[in-house]
């Protein structure tokens, strides 16, 4: 027996080693396999590096172009509110006073600005009166007019105001406008830039954090410095809350029925296929549907966040249903069997055991669905939300019927504006949108980490 074994075993002579190799020395085929594996790993690594580089390039461009939107130049000077100009009737009647338009207030403001420069001994050589007035934002007179109309006693007084500087002056402080570009620019002259240097030294022109960018409504092409995200953020917030209220109950109810109660037949298969299909339908299709159903048929007001929320809900529902069904499936059948075994009804099983265990997954899916809805522009295009909306929507619940825009819409409209200052604004808006998305995605991950159970 031993002889036989010895004969069958390969001899450990040199000839045998060359045939089968040693485990210490790699055979050529083994080396080829190892190389293939190394290459395989390298491909994966390269893909990750490529993706990260793209992300880094995108973020750097956005941040370098957009961070400047969060700083804003403003001018501080005293304005003498001449009662004779602003209240021609002289009886402090607000209805009469409102006849003085922002044009008149603009003139009053410009006069006070020039007078202040003269009083401070700042040379305005080479800058015409019109150019001096143009250094103030066109948005400034409106705020002053509102203040005066709200408080007519201000007339005749001299009050200190802080107003936005024109977008080009603001651009000069941020390095976007230079002496060379100003020479060719029909909207600003190098002399005005020299003057702004002097104003900066005198402390009249200052730069600070741009709260207005987060608070103000949109502004027209002539006032990029006054444009803000206020209306867009309210609109987005209204829509997200409404989408959550609409999709969560419907989505969970549909999934629970399909997963726990529905018989498995060709009808449920058909429904399942259709839900998956809907999740992949281009979002603009939901906009077309929304226009036809919610506005033209049901008669909901155009441009309102309610209709926007309906459309986005349609878009988000399939995503939420798919995520919810997946997390319901992940609850082990033993839980159901145990509940049914101790005498719980089907409904009690679902409500008391399956749903609570699936909740983290459902929440995560919902938040991811909402994040997708937050970034959508296309479906809103057709229902009139891609628009210039200057008034804040009122408080809920009527506010959801008021016209509003959304964050991605604001980016889209700003990119199309002709004034170069809107490039910075749109990139700034992208930063704000990315922050919102990041907060939502991080919440989703945290919820999953904290509450998810594995079996």
């Amino acid at each position: 027996m031993t002889d036989a074994t010895a004969n069958q075993m390969p001899a450990s002579g040199p000839a045998a080693r060359s045939k089968h190799g040693s485990i210490l020395v790699q055979a050529p085929s083994m080396r080829a396999r190892n190389r293939a594996e190394a290459r395989f790993k390298a491909y994966g690594l390269a893909a990750i590096v490529l993706a990260l580089t793209m992300l880094a390039i995108m973020l750097t461009t956005i941040l370098s172009d957009g961070l400047s939107a969060f700083r804003q130049a403003s001018l501080t000077f005293p304005v003498t509110l001449d009662a004779a100009t602003l209240d021609k009737s002289g009886n402090r009647d607000v209805a009469e006073m409102s006849k003085a338009t922002t044009v008149t207030y603009g003139k009053v403001m410009a006069q006070s600005f020039v007078a202040h420069l003269v009083a401070q001994g700042i040379s305005t050589e080479g800058v015409s009166e019109k150019e001096l007035a143009a250094m103030l934002s066109k948005d400034a007179p409106a705020a002053l007019r509102n203040d005066v109309l709200a408080n007519p006693d201000l007339l005749g007084q001299t009050i200190e105001v802080t107003v936005l500087a024109n977008g080009r002056i603001d651009g000069y402080l941020k390095g976007r406008v230079t002496m060379e570009s100003a020479q060719k620019d029909s909207n600003i002259s190098p002399e005005q830039l020299v003057l702004s240097d002097a104003l900066r030294k005198a402390g009249i022109l200052t730069s600070g954090f741009n709260w207005g960018f987060l608070k103000n409504p949109d502004a027209s092409d002539q006032r990029p410095e006054a444009a803000g995200l206020g209306v867009a953020m309210i609109g987005s917030a209204y829509m997200m809350v409404l989408v959550l209220i609409i999709t969560l109950p419907i989505g969970v109810a549909a999934s629970v029925y399909l997963e726990e109660f529905a018989p498995k037949n060709k009808w449920t298969d058909l429904i399942e296929v259709n839900i998956s299909n809907l999740a992949a339908v281009p979002s603009i299709v939901f906009g077309i549907l929304g226009l036809a159903v919610f506005i033209n048929f049901a008669g909901f007001p155009q441009s309102s966040s309610l209709v926007g929320a309906f459309v986005l809900s349609l878009m988000t529902l399939p995503t939420i249903i798919i995520a919810t069904r997946a997390s319901l499936k992940a609850v082990p059948p033993s839980i159901r069997d145990a509940a049914l075994g101790v005498g719980a009804s089907k409904m009690q099983t679902v409500a008391h055991h399956v749903l609570p265990l699936a909740a983290p997954g459902i929440l995560t899916g919902t938040i991811l669905g909402l994040a997708r809805a937050l970034g959508e522009t296309a479906p809103l295009l057709l229902i009139g939300m891609v628009a210039f909306v200057d008034n804040y929507p009122s408080a809920p619940a009527e506010g959801v019927l008021d016209p509003a825009t959304a964050l991605p819409v604001q980016i889209y409209t700003w990119v199309q504006r002709s004034d170069p200052a809107f490039v910075e604004r749109s990139n700034g808006a992208i930063i704000v949108l990315l922050l919102f998305l990041m907060v939502m995605n991080v919440t989703a991950i945290l919820l999953r980490r904290r509450f998810e159970r594995r079996w």
């Binding site: 044009v103 027209s220 969560l248 009139g384 210039f388 016209p403 504006r417 002709s418 004034d419």
Partner: protein
């Protein structure tokens, strides 16, 4: 309150408020993206100076805007359609079928269309014939119609720089393209004699000749831009040899990046367009649904304010932004005041 009850009651509240929704209190405007900046400037000033809320202004295109206006009468339809071209007969008919009877046509000014290249590039004193010979599919060469093979501007006209031909023209869905075709390409076609040659080759069929004139070359020297002027600007930035087509107001806001070409030796400015010296311009309109006047608060006031000297006049903010003020603005103001509806199109 349980989440379920909360949800149900919120939904009920929304439904109730939708049903009892009070009448729309702001003017709604849609239409041309060329008119959009002017309309937002007016809307903003209107909101500041009047008790009415600021009108909501949408872009999207002249044709789409007019169709939207013609959808019908009622609070869920828009009040005004901005348009960079005159309303078509089919639109008026569509309006009529949907019960939108009387429409007011308001012409509030003119818009210039300019050719511009990179600010550091060469000067381009163009004529319509130059542009035609550079970008048309077929041109007249030595008395015969040939496929356009010109590679450099100097081949088109010896006075132009020896620079590769590359032109960004607005895509066919833009109102600007219509003016470009009409005032530059067809004009150039006629000036260069190609129009007659086309007509002669087709037995005197002038419509066919015009159609042939408007065919642009497809070898990549003429590129249609379907996006906005910002896209054209970005493409110019990437390719410094190119010439782009812009609106006058867009150019005026970007004079530090663009060098404008003259047309027939005339520099495009608000003044030269108003005087009629610069040939490539078009009227801008908006169309008001008359049935909404008196129903939607502030509609009449907005329209009146838009055409007032304070806004649309030669010293107003619109002119400052690049609008060429209408010399017959007073007639428009009177028509708006009298609410004169549009005469039927012939």
């Amino acid at each position: 309150m349980s989440p379920m009850k909360m949800t149900a009651s919120t939904l009920a509240l929304i439904a109730a408020s939708a049903v009892t929704a009070s009448a729309r209190d702001q003017v709604q405007v849609t239409g041309s993206s060329t008119v959009l900046p002017y309309a937002t400037i007016v809307a903003e000033a209107f909101g500041e100076n009047f008790e009415f809320p600021t009108p909501v202004v949408e872009g999207g295109g002249s044709g789409a805007g007019r169709k939207k206006m013609c959808e019908g009468v009622g609070e869920n339809t828009v009040d005004i359609a901005n348009s960079s071209s005159k309303i078509s007969k089919s639109d008026v008919e569509l309006c009529a079928t949907n019960g939108v009877g009387e429409i007011m046509e308001v012409r509030f000014g003119y818009d210039g269309i300019v050719f511009a290249s990179d600010v550091n590039g060469a000067e381009f004193p163009l004529t319509p014939a130059d542009v035609y010979n550079a970008v048309a599919a077929q041109v007249l060469k030595d008395g015969a119609i040939v496929d356009n093979a010109a590679a450099q501007w100097s081949e088109v006209n010896a006075a132009l720089p020896a620079q590769d031909i590359l032109m960004f023209v607005p895509g066919t869905k833009h109102g600007t393209r219509e003016v470009f075709d009409d005032k530059v390409i067809v004009k150039g076609c006629e000036d260069s004699g190609a129009f007659e040659a086309f007509a002669a080759a087709n037995g005197g069929d002038e419509d066919k000749a015009e159609e042939l004139c408007m065919k642009l070359r497809t070898d990549g020297r003429s590129v249609d831009i379907d996006g906005d002027y910002t896209e054209t600007l970005a493409r110019l930035d990437a390719d410094k040899n190119a010439i782009g087509v812009f609106g006058l107001s867009f150019y005026q806001n970007n004079t530090d990046k663009l060098r404008v070409s003259t047309m027939n030796g005339v520099i495009p400015t608000v003044e030269s367009i108003a005087a009629g010296d610069y040939p490539v311009s078009r009227p801008l309109y908006f169309y008001v649904k008359k049935a909404h006047i008196g129903v939607i608060p502030g509609l009449k006031e907005y329209v009146t304010f838009f055409v007032s000297d304070e806004m649309a006049g030669p010293d107003g903010p619109l002119a400052e932004y690049g609008l060429v003020s209408d010399p017959e603005l007073a007639a428009t103001q009177a028509a708006v005041e009298a609410e004169t509806p549009m005469a039927p199109l012939e």
